[in-house]
């Protein structure tokens, strides 16, 4: 494998307390090393900015819901053809790109690791097949467990406490699917949606037929994940997404999991004041205040960007609300035992009060927080907008004048109800951008060899021209290096490596199968013995991150 010396670049590596130092970076055999020989390829990075490859902690790029969205919107991709070329596959772009194009475009943006944030475990083979066709990046997926009837039964049996059976069942499920972490989406609410269009509105509503509450589900599964020592803590999409006043639910959810590590997804969608039937207002400051006092909690923002989006979520009742707001297209899909799914193409309009408020709340979360390690960049792609809008979002954070210009174009009634007009003049530094786009997500994912450039780190590196226009700078890296190979140069793909599947593994008592098998037999239409993914072709090449039980 080629050895590379990146010479004279300005390095931003916050995980190693390197903030803009001019230094050389050496890569060999896919890793950052202290020195390389004289024959190493030299990349002249003088005047350029060097960071670790980007790490997206929360996006939707693969699996049945993503593919259903592709089928739903052929018109949306007709204008985004991608031609085949030497060594590269053709495809389509747009908000929900085809798989090869997804890998190419993330790589062209300087990202080298992406997490698919919501996969039905039953669909693991489908998710893995798509990820196999998503080149250039390392990828992981989180399995949906917040509405799993089998886990409901175990939680009820333990009276809501963490039990060894629950721990073992979660570890079994990760092993069975190749998943990386555990995702809870609207705990309990989706089960009620599938029963008869119901939902939960508080953490203490009972899930009909199962005698558990969202609070018990959160408490037990967050506790089990914590005790298992999985590399990534429980990843929570809280109840009442999008509902005015939901900040109370979010705060109560945070209190419920207190003392345990937890990551809150797309916090912007959960930061609303007001009354459910009324207009929302911002409660971003309350959420940020809570985070400041609770370092065990992190979040990604789920920034909305004005323009088209595709909402896709396991939270079926949320999609039904969007449907009833006049959506032309709507998909609902119910997955037995485990979860639901809703898809609605959507457009965020700058003149719309609610959309402008959502946009403003996202920026508030970024700008009010004092600890960038806690608040990470995401648009909940493609829910708040495409991952291709990350460069513009970075410019909004780094360039106050640009931000104020954009604010002036948005619904002023909404903007005035945020802290953005209240002297919030912060501008992110390059080091802070490096934290929210790679160092922070990698650390939160427990990927010790990613998100930084210390000796032994993965040789995933992005080199940018240091342009005053930060959007332009982050949209077109000068070089992207994946696992020690230059894969992008000046906006051109040079090669297309497969990338690794990242899985996690926690030990469990195999006797848990005796508990699970009869429960599977009662509920699933797939045999217990055929549920686990054993096909090597779907699970390799992989890197397994071991849990570290305390």
């Amino acid at each position: 494998m080629t050895a590379i010396r990146i010479s004279g670049g300005r390095v931003h590596d916050p995980a190693n307390n390197v903030d803009g130092e001019i230094r050389d970076l050496c890569l060999q055999d896919g890793k950052v090393v202290s020195e390389v020989g004289p024959d190493a390829r030299r990349i002249d990075a003088r005047g350029m900015v060097v960071m670790a490859g980007g790490v997206d902690i929360h996006a939707h790029i693969a699996g049945p819901k993503v593919n259903a969205a592709r089928k739903l919107s052929p018109d949306e991709r007709r204008d985004h053809p991608v031609n085949r070329s030497e060594g590269l596959r053709s495809g389509t772009g747009g908000l929900v790109p085809s798989t090869f194009t997804t890998g190419y475009r993330y790589s062209l943006l300087g990202y080298t690791t992406v997490v698919e944030a919501a996969a039905p475990p039953l669909a693991a083979r489908h998710v893995l097949s798509e990820l196999r066709d998503t080149p250039m990046i390392d990828k992981a997926f989180l399995i949906l467990m917040g509405n799993n009837q089998v886990l409901f039964k175990l939680i009820r049996q333990s009276g809501g406490a963490v039990s060894s059976q629950l721990r073992d069942a979660i570890a079994w499920w990760l092993e069975a699917t190749g998943g990386y972490g555990v995702k809870l989406v609207n705990p309990g609410g989706i089960e009620l949606w599938k029963q008869e269009n119901g939902n939960v509105t508080s953490l203490d509503d009972e899930v009909t037929g199962f005698e558990v509450t969202p609070r018990q589900i959160l408490d037990a599964i967050a506790g089990a994940v914590d005790e298992l020592g999985l590399p990534h803590p429980v990843h929570i999409h809280a109840n009442n997404l999008g509902v005015p006043g939901n900040a109370d639910t979010t705060l109560e959810t945070m209190r419920t999991v207190s003392g345990r590590q937890a990551h809150f997804a797309h916090l912007q969608f959960h930061s609303y004041g007001g009354k459910p039937e009324g207009l929302p207002r911002s409660r971003a400051s309350d959420l940020i205040e809570y985070l400041a006092a609770h370092p065990e909690i992190t979040a990604d923002v789920g920034q909305v960007m004005f323009g088209p989006a595709v909402t896709m979520t396991a939270d079926g009742p949320v999609s039904a609300v969007l449907r009833d707001l006049g959506a032309d297209k709507w998909i609902n899909h119910d997955t037995e035992v485990e979860t639901g799914c809703g898809i609605v193409p959507y457009r965020y309009r700058s003149g719309n009060y609610v959309h402008a408020l959502q946009w403003g709340i996202g920026l508030e979360l970024f700008l009010l927080g004092q600890n960038p390690w806690q608040v990470m960049l995401s648009t909940d792609h493609p829910n708040g907008g495409s991952f291709l809008s990350y460069p513009k979002l970075i410019r909004l954070l780094m360039d106050r004048a640009f931000r104020e210009d954009q604010m002036a174009r948005a619904n002023q009634r909404a903007i005035q109800r945020t802290a953005l007009t209240d002297g919030l003049d912060r501008e992110y530094t390059l080091n802070e951008i490096a934290i929210i786009t790679r160092a922070g997500p990698a650390r939160r994912l427990g990927l010790r060899e990613k998100g930084h450039l210390g000796i032994g780190a993965d040789a995933d590196v992005t080199i940018y021209h240091d342009r005053a226009d930060r959007e332009e700078m982050f949209a077109t890296p000068r070089y992207v290096i994946k696992a020690g190979e230059v894969v992008v140069e000046e906006g051109e793909l040079r090669r297309s490596p497969d990338g690794l599947l990242l899985s996690s593994r926690a030990g469990f008592d195999p006797e848990v199968s005796r508990v699970l098998e009869p429960l599977f037999g009662e509920r699933y239409t797939v045999a217990f013995e055929h549920y686990p993914v054993r096909e090597a072709a779907l699970r390799e090449p992989a890197q397994v991150v071991e849990a570290q039980r305390s």
């Binding site: 592709r70 053809p81 053709s90 097949s129 037995e336």
Partner: protein
């Protein structure tokens, strides 16, 4: 031949994975009993000994010679078409789309009449896996399909007749086996399906409708649907094939969407062949489009049902359900008389493995209980791509 199982049966889109196969004698028997599945296994387990691994113009050749000839045909083609996929796996489809991309070919994942999918991009759909319908639907409406013949264990797998209070409604004016099991039968000519669906939709919205003799049965059906919290519609080519099929499919999805406001309502589509769902899903994730896609311009373009493919000059059949005319065919069954190049492939689920997507989208492993020498279609297609690129 031994008994084996439980394994996954790829005889229809249900992909039942609890099947025990008894092939001890000349006949194949399955447990649970399924004539269609037994026939499928039988055709693949009881193949004549000494069958060639490949042929050119019906004469046995080695696989390498067949690949060389197939590559020549494809390289010389102005407008190649890859189709079939009735028994394709996800892996077969991945390799096929890669080849189509390289060739600039057209790829068609459904050789039959369009089965409703084109309606989905217009407004979407509400769908569910088998277990959801089994556990929740209290009224199941089967619209002009006969799963007792095409998907013999569907009713069992949806829990119909399983003791739970559930009403099976069949809309069909033919005396099918499925209609014979209905608690409620409604029948009118197929040409009135659109009228029936739009009338139901209008009635659901509270509009006054004059529908002649349909009015009474439709009002009765709507009353049943409104009396329960969860309903399911099963449909397929019986509703959506032929002229106006897209409008009929759209009308069904609009009706279901309207019903969803007050109760949970879902649909389940029966595909024409077991491999259709897998191939369509793969094509969608690799190209961005389901259905039929043309790569001639260097990128994928959706081919609509109305666009003729009369300029196709070389066809490549991938895992067809029966012998058909084509220049090239890759399949586990013997080639038809019109095939110039045929390469025998392993039957996924018998002598080859792979992954397949059930009709409701659930992905399952296909085991290879009797692994043999024949390569998978995926392996042949990959070699063919290399040969084309040589």
């Amino acid at each position: 031949m031994p008994e084996f199982g439980p394994i996954t049966c790829a005889g229809c889109g249900l992909l039942c994975d609890d099947v025990l196969v008894d092939a001890a004698d000349d006949a194949v028997r399955l447990t649970p009993d399924c004539d269609l599945g037994a026939q499928w296994f039988s055709e693949r387990l009881l193949r004549p000994a000494g069958a060639p691994s490949a042929t050119i113009d019906g004469k046995p050749v080695d696989v390498g010679s067949a690949l060389t000839r197939a590559a020549e045909l494809l390289r010389g083609a102005r407008r190649p078409l890859l189709h079939g996929f009735e028994h394709a796996t996800v892996e077969d489809a991945r390799a096929a789309v890669a080849l189509a991309d390289r060739l600039g070919a057209v790829i068609a994942t459904d050789d039959g009449e369009w089965a409703g999918a084109p309606a989905v991009p217009l407004r979407g759909a509400s769908t569910a896996t088998l277990g959801e319908i089994r556990d929740r639907a209290r009224v199941v409406v089967i619209w002009r399909e006969d799963p007792e013949s095409t998907h013999p264990r569907l009713l069992e797998r949806l829990g119909i007749g399983g003791g739970v209070e559930r009403t099976l409604v069949v809309v069909d004016d033919s005396d099918t086996a499925t209609a014979g099991r209905a608690e409620v039968r409604l029948g009118w000519p197929p040409g009135r399906d659109l009228e029936a669906l739009t009338t139901l939709h209008a009635l659901q919205r509270g509009l006054t409708v004059r529908a002649g003799e349909l009015e009474l049965p439709l009002s009765g059906l709507l009353k049943r649907l409104r009396a329960v919290p969860h309903v399911a519609f099963v449909y397929g080519a019986g509703l959506t094939a032929g002229a106006g099929g897209q409008r009929r499919a759209l009308a069904l999805h609009e009706l279901v969407r309207a019903l969803c406001h007050e109760r949970h309502a879902v649909t389940l589509e029966l595909p024409g062949a077991p491999g259709t769902r897998s191939a369509d899903d793969v094509l969608a994730w690799q190209s961005g489009y389901g259905g039929n896609v043309d790569f001639a311009s260097g990128h994928p373009e959706l081919v609509t049902a109305t666009q003729p493919l009369d300029d196709v000059d070389v066809t490549l059949l991938v895992e067809p359900g029966s012998a058909g005319a084509a220049e090239i065919a890759l399949g586990s069954l013997a080639a038809g008389p019109g095939v110039e190049v045929w390469i025998r492939t392993a039957a996924a689920g018998v002598d080859g493995g792979g992954t397949a997507h059930r009709l409701d989208g659930v992905p399952l492993a296909l085991q290879a209980p009797l692994p043999g020498e024949a390569p998978s279609a995926a392996a042949v297609l990959t070699r063919l791509l290399a040969e084309v690129e040589r």
